[in-house]
Structures are given as C-alpha cells and as structure tokens.
C-alpha cells in the first residue's frame, strides 16, 4: 500500500548527512551513509522532538542535535540506555534517484 515518491538525486543528499522532506503533515529526514545506503525517519527525536535531520550521522546512527540521543537509522529506535522510537519510512535508490514510500 505504499506510494513511492521520487524525492531527489542521491548526490543531492550529502554523504554522512541528511535532507529534510516536507510533506503536508510532517517533516521526514532522509539520511545517506558513507556507503550510500539511504534511510528515512520522521524528523523528530523520540526524546523531545528534536530535528534528527540536523544531527551528525556515523555508521547507521544519527545523534540528535538537541540532547545527544543516538537513533538507529534502520529501526528508528534510540540506542541504550535511552529508550524510544520514531517512525521509519521505506526508501530505495534506483538509477541514482532516491524514492521514499509514504
């Protein structure tokens, strides 16, 4: 039941960085890892809704800029000892284009 939407060229998202996708209802953070994997999370940390898109990406985690929670990009959940999860969206990369299922 998903709707793939083309959002950007892969190179428009910085390596070890993120872009914000604004929909009518919310912001989605789309991350790119060192090895060009792409992940998408709701742009709100489970702790105090900090914008995860503005954090520092390393490996497959992002560190929230507000209070340094570390969020797993695949599962959307905080790494221990913190607890909480944000929403995860599916992504795919085809022919250098990034698609988001929303």
């Amino acid at each position: 039941m998903s709707n793939w939407i083309e959002i950007a060229a892969l190179e428009d998202i910085p390596r070890l960085g993120a872009r914000v996708v604004k929909t009518d209802t919310m912001d989605v953070a789309v991350f790119r890892t060192r090895d060009d994997q792409v992940f998408a999370l709701k742009d709100a940390c489970p702790h105090k809704q900090g914008p995860l898109s503005q954090g520092i990406v390393s490996g497959t985690t992002v560190t929230c800029p507000m209070h340094n929670w570390k969020i797993d990009l695949e599962k959307g959940c905080a790494l221990g000892p913190d607890e909480g999860c944000t929403n995860v969206f599916r992504t795919k990369v085809e022919n250098g284009k990034v698609y988001l299922a929303i």
Partner: protein, 812 residues
Amino acid sequence: MKEKLVLVGNGMAGVRTLEELLKLDPERYEITVFGAEPYPNYNRIMLSPVLAGEKTVDDIILNDRDWYESNGITLHTGDPVVRIDRAARKVITESGLEAGYDRLLLATGSNPFIIPVPGHDKEGVIGFRDIADVNTMLEASKRYQKAVVIGGGLLGLEAANGLMKNGMDVTVVHLMDILMERQLDRPAAELLKQSLEERGMKFLMETQTAEVLGDDRVSGLKFADGSEIEADLVVMAVGIRPNIELAQTAGIHCERGIVVNDTMQTYDPRIYAVGECVQHRGLTYGLVAPLFEQAKVAANHLAQLGFARYEGSVTSTKLKVTGIDLFSAGEFNEQEGDETLVLQDPAAGVYKKLVVRDNRIKGAVLYGDTMDGTWYFQLLRDGTDISAFRSTILFGQHDLGDAGHGDETRVAALSDDAEICGCNGVCKGEIIDAIVTKGLFTLDDVKAHTKAASSCGSCTGLVEAILASTVGDGYDATPSKKPLCGCTEYSHDEVIAGIKEHQLKTMDAVRSFFEWKNPDGCAACRPALNYYLLAYWPGEYHDDPQSRFINERAHGNIQKDGTYSVVPRMFGGLCTPAELRAIADVAEKYNVPEMKVTGGQRIDLFGIKKEDLPAVWKDLSEAGFVSGHAYGKALRTVKTCAGKNWCRFGTQDSTGLGVKLEELTWGSWMPHKFKLAVSGCPRNCAEATIKDFGVVCVDSGYELHVGGNGGIKVRVTDLLCKVETEEEVLEYCGAFIQKYREEAHYLERTAPWVERVGLDYIKQAIVEDEAQRKALYERFKYSQQFAQIDPWKQRAEGEEANEFQPIKITAA
C-alpha cells in the same frame, strides 16, 4: 570452531574482563565460567552495606544468570576448579567436571588471612570475604551478644560497624597504636576512633591475640599480655592473601601472587590472570579500581588486539561507614623534605592534609569533608603543578566544580530528593538508585543512565562524589589517560601530536593511523578531528560540514523549536544608524518574532526559519555585516566600554582597540568559544577579567589578562603581563589565541586549559620567549587568511544551498 575461553573465579575482576572482551570481540570465544560460590557475580565491595542492613544480596548482584545466558556463557556455580591440567589444556572441578581451554583466565581472588593461633578453627571464628561470611555474622547477631573483630583496618571497621548495627556489642582488637594505619595518619585516625567510640564501638589498641578460647564454639580471646575478653563471634580482618593455590599446584610461577607481566599474562602464555590473585611488578592490589584497569588490559589481549598495557595503579580509599566521611590516597605520611598543608577544625570534625613535594600532591588524607577527594586524587595522578592555587587548595575546588550548589558540598548529608543536576532535574536518590540497580562504576555510566552532569557539567563534582560514596572503593576514578571518545584508546594530546608529527591531513588518515574502532567516528570525535585538522593545516584541510555540530553547519543557533537565531557582528559593539536600520528592516521583512540585545553587545534575531537564513544573510551582508559566529566554537565578541573618547575616567581608547582586536581575530575557529573585552580603566566596565582574553587599560599602558570565564564556573583571569602599545596588545593576543588553538583539547575553554597547563607555561611561551610569541602570531595571521571569509556571504551567494533547502512534496 570458536576458541574456548575458561574463566576460573566468578568475581568482579574476572567477569569485568569478560564484559570488556564482549565489547571488543563478542564472537571470538566459547566462554565457560566456574565459581566456587553459589551466586552469580556480585559486588563484593557492597558486602559491608549488606551486613549493615542497608542493602540486600539481590541489590548487589552485578550480573544475573540471564546475563550469562544472553551472552552465551556457560556458568557453573558452587563448583570450584581444583586442578589445571596444562598439558591437556583442561580444568577439573571438585565435582569432577572437566572443561578444555585454548585460553584460561584465572581470577581466583584472595582469602582472608586467619591468624594461626591456637583455637583459630573453632566454630564462630570467621573472615569477612563473601556472602557466606555475612550470613554467618547475621545469624550470630540473632543469637549472641558479644563480637570481637581482630583488625582495625578498612575491612575490620566496616565489619565492626555492621555487627554493631545488628545490635551486637563490638570490640575491635588492633595490633598497631592507630586505626587504618595503611590509609590514615595519626590525627585522622584519632578523629575516626573518637567518632566510632561515640557510636559505641570499643577498642583494644596495641593488643596481640594469643589464643582463641572455648570448647567447640569460641567463648573468648586471650591476649599476649595474659588478659582475656569474652566473645561469641570472632571476625578476623587482618588482611588478605592472594589465592594462588590452584595456580601453584599447576606449576605456574607464583610469589606472593600469581606473577603476571604488563599484559596480564602468566608464565604460561595461554593463561592470563587478573584481580586480587595477581602480583604485578611486585605489587598486589586489593581495591577494585585497579582490578578494573587490569580487566581492560586482559580483555584487549584476549581479543588479540595486543596494544594495551597495565602499568600499575595509584589507589585511593573511602570508608563505607555511613555518616563517616574519610578519604585517603597516595603517600599520606610525609617523608623528609616534603611539605604538608593542613586544615584542622576540631569543632566541625574536619581534618584535611595534603603532602606536597615540588609543588605536586603526593598524598592526601581527608576526614569529615571529603568532597574534594576526587579533585585532589586527579591532581595527584596527573602530577599537576599546584603553585598557582596552593594558597587556597585546602578550601577545595569551590570555583571549579560546584557552582550553583553553594555549601551543599557534603554529599552524604544531602537528602535523597536534593536536586543534583539542575539542567536535567536529577535528584540524589535517582543517581544512587541507578548506580546500585544498574551496577554503574564510572562517571560516564552515570551520565548515560541518569543524564546527570551530561549537559552543562557544573554538577560533575557532586555526581562524582555521590558515585564515590555509593560504590566506595569500586569507584573507577577518571583514568590518568582519558581517551578522546569511545572510538579510540588515544587521548586528545596523542591525537594532536600524531596529526602534527605524522602529517595526517584528513579525518580518514587520522582514524586509520590511530586504529579507530568506528570508521565514521562519532558525534563526539568528528567535530574534534575536524577542528584539529583545520587548526593544523590551514589552507590545506577542507572543512567537513557533516562533521560540524548543526549550529556551525547552518551558521546559526538552533533553538528548541528548530528555528535559528542570527547575530550579526558589530565590531567592538559599535554600530551606525544605517546599520541599525538595516537590522530593523530584516527583522520586519522576515517576521522575526523577537529581538534581543545580547550580553556581548550585539543584537540577536530569534525565530528565523532555516530556509530563510540565506536570504536574511544576503540583506545583512549588503548592509555591511558579517557573521557574528555567535553559534560557533570560535571568536565570539569583543566587549568594550566607552573609553577615553567619552568617559571622564578613560585612560586609553578601549573602543578603538576593541575594534582592532575584533578585526584581527574574527572568523577564527577555536577549541571552544572565545570571548574578549577591553576596559578603558581599572573600573573594568567591560568585565574584561572574566573573559578568555581581557585588556584593562591603565594610564601607562595595557594589562593583559587570560583564562577568565563568566559561565558555569566563574573564574577570574590571571594577569599575563603588562604592555605599552596597542601593537603589542594585538601581537600578544594573537599569540595567546594561537597557543590555545594549537594545544588545548577540543571543547576545553581557556579557563580549564590555563589551569591544566599552568600560567607559568603560558607566560614562558608568550611573554618570555619573544621568538615563540612572534612565530605564534605569524601562524595565527596566516590561518586568518583562510578563516576571515564570511560564511554568511558565501551562503547568501548560493554555497551549500542543499543544507538550507528542504525537499517539498505533497503527500498523496
């Protein structure tokens, strides 16, 4: 086929080694653990609180059986290993179980020393070592009245205190003339004895036990002088002996303990040993902090990383008797030629002594007020030169560690609902609860689990004190070498030196040279490395925006709602009507909800959306403004007073000098934020003496002050020197900044940096060594060529556009 690792001894040192090993290489070994006691790993140093009824056995379990299971570890409890067959590489237990090994780890701990006097084997004569001993004591306290503890050391007094709390009439028999002679000097020992006597404990000093009296069960003791005392229970706490029997019978070289080298390896290369059973460089250790250091090293070698070395430990001691604060470390009895600093307040029950040699702390004894124990211990381990604050050192770290907490320095006296961390609202009770239930031993653990001390850090001293008083000897004091972050074993200083010596010019080069565990680094080390490379290789290293904290990447301060604030630079705090008008226009055009005059004499525009930032900057840039770097670890602002152009007291043109200083220094990236001020006379209206670099003008020239801070921990500057001309002010300022840029640790303000390296060191480099000063100044000016490019103008012209532009889609 995985290799087999067998651990003999299911105690704190052994299991800690396994924990460290699992962190490094969880898959390498199939692990089997043998323990003589019927319990999983528990916190042995918490036995005293269990005896005193302050904790239960369940409270002090560190690793429950689920932990072993979920890590795939086979655990055999209540079945001691009785033999090692080194030829067949297997161990054999009392029940006849056998287990083969590729690597063997011995952590057999120690046994209490039982004095071999006649009758020592009677019922009711025990040591104080494990849960079984505690149970024996608790049982005895229900049926008997009189207990005698032999040994007035740490363990003996804790046992005596516990028995007294269980209602027994307790006498402590001690061979020496003062208590705890290995940890205390005479005055502190006298205070302790007095305080324990007030609680009802009795003492027989300089008394030697000759015989245990009684039939099957003990009924009393007879002493060397012929006198006798009644006793229903005798606890011998006169010391421990490394438990080396198993190793010895297997032919492994032992002296007092199992002899190991700096990698914790025994004379049999397949066999490692850690904990109280080992002898390292001639020393044995009975406290837990050194055991944890050993565990880390053993794990490093078991994981075949092969680079860690154990080089011995300096230990400190705290007594776990509720209501008695006592701390000692190092060589607390002065040698000839040592100096001693003493503070004695008998009415308040406070005694503090520091033994000082060549202006370095060699030992400390604190009684009654131990809040500063961790600080003194750190100074001792670091070998810090204390001459700069020697005159006030006995009053403690007041201006360093507990701002906002006033006199609440006696942590033990605080109630459980006392707020310790004001940033995150964490109370003392929550911290203690986390330490106990989660088995925490380090400040970093406590920060991670409770969030206390994890924001501004001003309560760090209090949290450390709570940690130290809760876990006692188990407190893993800040290691003498602190790694830069969790990705590496190397310290800031080692990484800085490596970047310079080995010409490392990219982050990947640094991470591969220093064997980073994580190829991308983490949110702590990436900004640090980015800064170091930028500072060392100006013009060569390309700044990595993805390794910048968001404020520096977006060149604005992120606010709690995700909007940004914008502070244009106003050199020296001056501005023209046209400039003010331009700021007002921008504020109206972009619906800025709030404007504020900052403490640094400029104007802050709040609530700007990220996507509007480049347009805002374009307008400001056209009006002549550059970035104020109010968001960065960078040169912030130069605060000035009116100066002699207007002020009737002014001695020099402080405003004009401020503008020149800001023109010289703006745009420079720093280890942390950096503030300047220039005051036109000693009235100091620009508050120059709480800035990183402050100038106070006087009639005959300029006083230069460094290392001040008006933030979390207020610190007044130190006077660097006095100069006569503005040109000199600029040169000294540039040189000081460059010294700080090249040598301070990332995120270290000038105040702690100056304290760490010492004012003399800085004076030597900047004031006395003219060649060095000029070279530093030249390097600073060179790097400023690349730094003084306005980031706002660049972005207004389209650079890094993706950073500010969201992708807009309409959801179906």
